[in-house]
Symmetry: C2
């Protein structure tokens, strides 16, 4: 019987041993920085009640949530419904609440809000949590966009101090520097500045239109932005007023100064400037390792949501979308009935960071290797001789393997090469007799005779 | 508006910061042992094609697989089907393949088999892999049984050497000893011995009935087993023949000797005895740290599946089901068209190990703590003074936090207690002036005056 070659669902991926080591390297580095700043890990279930997720991501988002079919005889519930209400029409939307009650996590933010409300009496506020788990979206898969991918988030809720914003800049700086990135920019903006800009042209209600257009400056240039603003109903007069703001230049200090002049008639706008300045002042007290910190008022991501600081991180070494982002939101838990809890959070784009590191060759050599030493033998005698040696090496913390007796030496050496094992010990009858083993460096090919004691004593160099 | 208290779907769990630290401690310990023995981590997607999973777990298993509803207009597919075939009846079973193409992973074994077949040309065999990921089952939730839980598996495929079986015994021993378990038993059996027992009473076809009954010896005693064997159609004569085998006593060597006598007429049975002896001989060459290793021919878990060794691990310190298990299977990848690849694997029951460790109080004290030091201050001045200090401590690898200015000292100390932070620095105006900070040990309550340099120099003791 010919069988079909097995595959994974589109938009999902297997991770090979090498990929896993490298992914762990990224996640562990970021997690350790989170911990150093007092963030604690939580995990939430992969599935949430559908009612927890629905309506939180807009109509488009709702469509992209993966729903789980009720187990058991889900169809009888639909039939009962039809019996009770003859006018009930079967269609994808009307059936959904009947045949599905659960769905897969779409992001980490809504489950976190649910967690905070559900566990509010056990939590010590301000609550600084991080979470690294997969999320699922029924998006059309394409290069770099997956239906299952990990998010890597840190948030603090219950503190309005801008110290938190400053620390997130430091966290980005330390984590990405530790991973070896040498040139990246942390962009910061503030929703209140964007509100201020809309206010000074009396278009507070059109802030979304305004920011959507401004956000494209990088891609379509000033002329493109002006064209788009006209199309969205802004007058030539409006555009004249905000042009200096869009084209803001100079150092962060100079930009803030120009902004304050432009926003002089907007209390909200000036408050935004003060907030950004406070963050800059905190950071002026320390030293950024690598990051460039840049006030960028064209930055408007997730605007519906953010109420204060807005962050985005971009590498300047390779062409790549943002590798991180976040911001402050004032009423995250309100959707679950707990009002007045402010929060601020950031996210690392682990898949993109992986691609950047691969392109720049930043993964340490150890991330290719797993086992440090392989013992090869020719027969049962050699295997018996080698087994206590391998156990002693493991006891000393060396990751080591004994190739089971019976295979040709070539196959065993191929195995070592395939797994990037740097050292091999070969045990033949001569070695058993003399007690002098052959230690082969698989990279250089150099072979040396060593006693077991010498090999164990040199374990640090394996 | 009164809002409903948010909750998680039944059978699923949130993990709090303390639970996460403890779960990570268990997983990291086990993973490190896997790595030391040359096992490499992989991950597979949470969702598999439904066709990959269906039919692999029996009819009961198929029902317990969580299916994912097709995204988009799934219902129009069902209607089109009805249009093409008027006799098509809507029911839960007939609709399933039309409205669902994907399902959540039910275990790690079938996805692993799929992985091996799909990536066979990239894999270096024997392939030693480990995998620690959640699985989902639509089981009725009850104490200790969840709908989402982690499995923690190691398998090697492509090697029939019994060295692998021996190393799994050592892996169990090392991992559970490292976690602090002081009295546990690794039970080993061999499918061929069970086949041999069925053979000597000419009931090879009834091996399942036989082993299901024998497996209950612990629970229902010899009389219960005999009763059940009679009910399942075994004659008094049969039972007389196998009674000595069921009641096997003495050391592992004595048991093997008795078994060989009883199974003298079964080549398969004798081969099983040889295999077990070979595993024992490997292990006799090393030293088990803690584990008792016990030949237990009543052990029959997963029999449909296993063809050689069968493992199960039980703690003797608290009443608890098995905390680990596994065995050899001869044709794992056959279901995906790759024949003749033998494998052997084990699994750790992480949730049960967690419960055992909690009951025995085995988690290290550090697993309760996260941040090592908190700086408390009274105002913006103190915060400004404290910020470079906290950054210097973090640079030295200390996990430290600065409580944002503006909260009462009591609130800040409550925060330290809530997060089990062992040391607190209090910065008031006097401290800023003198440069001598107050370092408070939160456990003893002792306060001492220290310079910043002294605190940083003593970081190892924090």
């Amino acid at each position: 019987m010919a069988s079909i070659k097995p595959s994974v669902p589109k938009g999902t991926r297997d991770f090979s041993p090498t990929e896993m080591v490298r992914r762990n390297y990224i996640f562990d580095t970021i997690k350790n920085v989170f911990r150093k700043y007092g963030y604690q890990q939580i995990e939430t279930p992969s599935m949430e009640n559908l009612s927890t997720l629905t309506g939180k991501y807009g109509d488009e988002g709702d469509k992209l949530i993966f729903k789980i079919l009720n187990s058991g005889d889900y169809w009888s519930d639909a039939e009962n419904r039809k019996l009770k209400d003859e006018s009930f029409n079967y269609n994808s939307k009307s059936l959904l609440p009947i045949i599905s009650e659960k769905a897969l996590r779409y992001d980490l933010t809504v489950p976190f809000a649910r967690y905070v409300v559900q566990h509010q009496n056990e939590i010590t506020f301000p609550f600084k949590r991080f979470q690294v788990q997969p999320v699922w979206r029924a998006d059309r898969p394409q290069k770099g966009r997956y239906r299952e991918f990990y998010q890597c988030d840190a948030d603090v809720v219950g503190s309005d101090s801008l110290l938190n914003e400053a620390e997130f800049v430091l966290i980005y700086d330390e984590a990405l520097s530790t991973l070896g990135l040498k040139d990246f920019t942390i962009k910061i903006n503030n929703r209140k500045i964007l509100s201020g800009i809309a206010e000074i042209i009396d278009k507070a209600d059109n802030i979304i239109d305004l920011t959507v257009a401004i956000d494209k400056l990088d891609k379509i240039g000033l002329d493109g932005v002006i064209k788009e603003l006209m199309e969205r109903g802004f007058s030539a007069d409006d555009i004249e007023k905000i042009k200096p703001v869009i084209l803001l230049e100079g150092t962060n200090e100079q930009k803030l100064e120009s902004l304050r002049l432009a926003l002089i008639n907007s209390d909200t706008g000036l408050k935004g400037c003060d907030e950004i300045e406070t963050v800059f002042n905190y950071i002026a007290n320390c030293q950024l390792i690598t990051a460039n910190l840049e006030l960028d008022i064209t930055l408007a991501r997730g605007l519906n949501y953010y109420t204060g600081a807005i962050f985005e991180v971009k590498t300047n070494e390779v062409a790549m979308g943002s590798i991180g982002g976040g911001g402050r939101y004032d009423d995250l838990t309100g959707m679950f009935g707990l009002k007045g809890l402010t929060g601020v959070g950031i996210s690392f784009g682990a898949d993109r960071i992986y691609d950047v590191m691969e392109e720049l060759n930043l993964f340490p050599a150890e991330t290719a290797q797993s086992t440090q030493l392989l013992i090869c033998c020719f027969d049962k005698e050699g295997e018996k001789f080698g087994f206590p040696i391998i156990q002693e090496l493991r006891k000393q913390g060396v990751s080591a393997e004994l190739y089971p007796a019976g295979a040709k030496l070539k196959k065993q050496l191929d195995y070592a090469n395939g797994k990037h094992i740097p050292y091999v010990i070969i045990i033949g009858s001569e070695e058993i007799e003399s007690g002098l083993l052959t230690l082969k460096n698989m990279e250089t090919g150099v072979q040396e005779k060593r006693t077991v004691e010498q090999i164990i004593a040199a374990k640090g160099k394996l």
